[in-house]
């Protein structure tokens, strides 16, 4: 913004300004996905709690019949995936803020990412296993 008599000088290169991605080459992607996942998690997490807590009991037959229902299976898969993504992004910011040293930070980020991919895949596999075999 140029004020009277003062010309604002940007330190960013013209190319950098056009691409708009900043020094991390990520642009606002991280920020945006964090918001998208948080918006999605509002209905998903409320649905999960209401649906789970309104089951007549938590024993195997009741829970697996609930999970075998297609809508439940679909929403559970979405919940696990979106929650894992949101959790990974959130922990990443915390690690970037508090873990000192490039090596330690990178290692922690790699471990966190792998752990979340594993969690997401394991959750999806579990739901699919129940949903595809039906009630046993």
């Amino acid at each position: 913004m140029a004020r009277r008599g003062v010309r604002a000088v940007s330190l960013r290169s013209p190319l950098g300004q056009v691409l708009g991605t900043g020094s991390a080459r990520q642009g606002v992607h991280h920020w945006w996905v964090q918001r998208l996942t948080s918006i999605a998690l509002v209905p998903l997490s409320i649905w999960f709690l209401v649906s789970l807590l309104s089951l007549p009991s938590l024993d195997h037959w009741v829970v697996s019949a609930w999970m075998a229902h297609s809508v439940t299976a679909l929403l559970l898969i979405l919940l696990v995936l979106v929650a894992a993504w949101h959790s990974q992004l959130g922990l990443q910011v915390i690690v970037e803020d508090y873990v000192r040293g490039n090596g330690a930070r990178t290692l922690t980020l790699v471990a966190i990412t792998f752990a979340h991919v594993l969690l997401g895949a394991a959750g999806v596999l579990a739901v699919l296993k129940v949903a595809l075999r039906g009630v046993q």
Partner: protein, 112 residues
């Protein structure tokens, strides 16, 4: 800001909650015996304490997260507005905690 740090703190707790959720889903998929073993583990007093913590964390993180989303639209950022909404989210999250806690207590009473 205390409320912002708390949002991070409760977020980390919920990451642990996600771990528990996936563990439980895997146990259900493993069959009746596996689920029963997991249910015994998850009904230990320590586990109940962890669940209570996760309910507190969830209630706060949900409400504070919605406040952050509203802030992202550029609304409510004035200092007195932020101070008022801090009290509001404290009250709403405590109410939510009690509601979920009540529901979980009932579900827990009928757990195997």
């Amino acid at each position: 800001m205390v409320t912002s740090i708390l949002n991070r703190f409760t977020g980390v707790a919920l990451s642990a909650g996600l771990l528990l959720l996936v563990y439980w889903l895997t146990a259900v998929a493993g069959g009746a015996q596996t689920q029963l073993r997991a249910a015994r583990l998850l009904s230990l007093p320590v586990a109940k304490l962890v669940f209570a913590g996760i309910i507190v964390a969830f209630s706060y993180h949900l409400v504070a997260g919605i406040r952050h989303l509203i802030w992202d639209t550029g609304r409510g950022l004035e200092r007195n507005q932020a101070r008022r909404s801090a009290w509001l989210i404290a009250a709403v999250s405590v109410a939510l905690m009690l509601i979920i806690g009540y529901g979980a207590w009932h579900a827990g009473a009928s757990a195997p």
